[in-house]
Amino acid sequence: MGLIFVIGFLGLMLLFGIGKLSQSRRRLREIPAFLRLKRAIGLAVESGQRLHISLGHGGIDGPRGAAGLVGLSVIQKVSRAASISDKPPIATSGEAALGILSQDVIHAAYRLINAENHYDPSLGQITGLTPLSYTAGALPAIFDQQVSVNMLLGSFGSEVGLLADAAERTGSLTIGGSDNLPAQAVLFASTQEPLVGEELFASGAYLQVNPMHTSSLIAQDILRWALIGFIIIGAALKLVGVL
């Protein structure tokens, strides 16, 4: 059953990614956080200020890894847009593999714009290897690096409140999303633009990382409605005594 679900999901993604069906359904609902983010990225590049992307400490080898992978997609997009800036984007992470991949993604962005000689490995930093040491280590990146936009996109716990507070005190725009429920609650209260629920996973589609992000978002929407339908039908059948 699980395999059928995964194959069905993959089929829908490919159908909307490759086929013409995607053309008519690519209008995404407005999420204020992404509208502000797009504007802020442009402004940061023009004014020579830095963007900071925090990837959390979820790693890449478990269910919590997906949030970090979304953060990496955002770094890919942001680095391509802002690497030419005097102060290129900086990424901090609390897990070794995630940190190495962030360096890799930033390096690839520099190569793409033929500026490989300007690449600095310290743009992708591992600031600590436990949740709290990571948070403590990432604070100087927010305070000391003239950051104008902080993107907290990854797997965090409630300690993300310390990062959001630091960002707020520097007066920078803060956008935050996590796969973790307590972290989402903290981000809702402490950031200007929180990403609630699965909005974090829509980041790639809204920032136009690649067409497959949009098609996977459409597939997600379809399957969500299917699941809601199954839940309602199941509840109704249970109510009438069939199940």
Binding site: V6, E95, A97, D104, S122, L132, P140, D165, E198
Partner: protein
């Protein structure tokens, strides 16, 4: 020939390995299970190596800060010294030696506990600042829920049990809050699957540097 991770060969390796592990999870074929176990063992070894590389990265970043005399160099110097001392002690005496345990119990644990205490203050301040940014229906609902969920159990344990309040608290936390949490988690789960599948088919390649 200079090999780079972005070479298609590496994408093929990532896709094949990912597909094998995924299929091994769903299909109970002995060969597939064996392959999956081997790959996961390799992943465990690689994770340990990557951890060492991560520590090296942390060290290099702070050494660079010291060399270029960036702001707050003192903290970087302190980190480098502490890291080297801890590393040498754990390496020489072992991770379970009294010296290593002493470092964890008497330095790391109190420092992290103080950060948690600081977090509690920060969260209360964040709740207040949320209203300073603007009063919206969702802000009010959020604050009311937080206060209700936190305050009612304290109130019930303090004063005599009030059956109506107790039932209302249970109804909100076990029906509304739980349903909302499950709905969010369902969306997150779909997002996790979508992200994993994008990496699996090579649409996202965070290893292309």
């Amino acid at each position: 020939m200079k090999l780079r991770l972005r070479t298609p060969a590496f994408a093929i390796i990532a896709i094949v390995v990912g597909a094998t592990v995924l299929l091994g999870y769903f299909i109970n074929l002995p060969l597939l299970q064996e392959l999956r176990a081997i790959i996961l063992n390799w992943a465990l070894i690689l994770t340990a190596v990557v951890l060492l590389v991560g520590i090296l990265n942390l060290l290099l970043v702070h050494l660079k800060k010291i060399r270029t005399e960036e702001k707050n160099t003192f903290y970087s110097l302190f980190l480098v010294i502490a890291l080297l001392i801890t590393f040498v002690i754990a390496l020489v005496f072992g991770p379970e030696s009294p010296w290593t345990i002493f470092i964890f119990d008497h330095i790391m644990l109190p420092v992290e506990t103080s950060l948690v205490a600081l977090l509690a203050v920060v969260l209360i301040y964040a709740l207040a600042r949320m209203f300073w940014r603007g009063v919206t229906l969702f802000n009010l609902l959020f604050a009311a829920t937080v206060l209700f969920v936190l305050a009612v159990p304290a109130l019930l344990s303090w004063i005599a049990p009030l059956p109506l309040l107790s039932e209302l608290h249970a109804w909100i936390t076990q029906v509304w809050a739980l349903a909302g949490a499950r709905a969010i988690l369902m969306g997150v789960a779909l997002g996790v699957i979508a992200t994993g599948l994008r990496v699996l088919i090579g649409a996202d390649r965070p290893y292309e540097g």
